[in-house]
Symmetry: C2
Subunit: 170 residues, 2 copies
């Protein structure tokens, strides 16, 4: 899929059919994530692939409002932040966001649906992920991405707003 | 350009030739930025297009180590965060990062070079941008993107690292 088309037609997908997600598709998502830019090229990220039905169902309980999503999802990715790898203190969150956006776009380009489920900043989700995946103390669960083929494709939304654009000064 | 190709071949470009950047190319970058996902669909962003030579040269002084970049750049975008538009307090930074990554990918897909220059978290740059662009008090300068045609394309880097991948648990 063309890059601008992918950017302009990607939607957050929260309902999935039962078609499995291939290992090769997941690997492409992780390749895309790890090719994101990061401050000082620090790459302060780790990823947990979740593809066992037991762990996906357990995620449905660990994430307060995500039950249906993770019960339907055929796979998921947990993106984690390791601040020990930050080249500039405090910039690791931005690096993880770039990796996250690459995952969302690479999923859409492959015909997969995905949605960004925030974990960092939401203590019950952080604790749930930390326990479920037995994360080391220094690893921060950052965001979850349930994956699957969309039950139905959503129409593109055009969000450009000229009121948000300024020219050479505010 | 294919989406996965754009993600896998994008590099940070800091040296530009003198070919102008078209208004239509810049508009596509802003369309891409504003089609990023945001928490609660808050879209807490504003953009300043910088395409006057005077303002680009002034940016070279406002950004401590960016002189050559902004002197060479044919245009730039300043991405700003308006926390009053956040749907969930504190999530606006993540929203802006997604917009930023879309700008970088949409630039590369159009044959333009760009690089993410952090402003938020670096007080002298924040003050420089705030003064130069006369930003309102509630608007936070977040990141700058100098733009232009690359002096030379950089080879792709493959950054996938299997040591960062875990399976169903850490």
């Amino acid at each position: 899929m063309d890059t601008l088309e992918a950017i302009m037609t990607r939607r957050s997908i929260r309902a999935f059919n039962s078609k499995p997600v291939s290992e090769s598709a997941i690997k492409r998502l992780l390749e895309a994530a790890m090719n994101a830019p990061s401050a000082g090229d620090g790459r302060p990220w780790h990823f947990v692939i979740i593809d066992s039905r037991d762990q996906l169902d357990a995620l449905a309980d660990a994430v307060d409002d995500g039950n249906a999503m993770f019960q339907q999802a055929q796979a998921a990715i947990l993106l984690c932040l390791d601040r020990r790898l930050e080249k500039f203190a405090g910039f690791g969150d931005k690096d993880c966001c770039c990796a996250a956006q690459n995952i969302l776009l690479a999923a859409h380009a492959q015909g997969l649906g995905a949605v960004w489920i925030s974990v960092a900043g939401i203590p019950p989700r952080e604790a749930g992920c930390r326990e479920l995946f037995q994360l080391p103390d220094n690893i921060e669960p950052f965001a979850l991405f349930p994956l699957g083929e969309p039950v139905e494709p959503l129409p593109a939304e055009y969000r450009y707003d000229p009121a948000r654009v300024h020219h050479n000064q505010w």
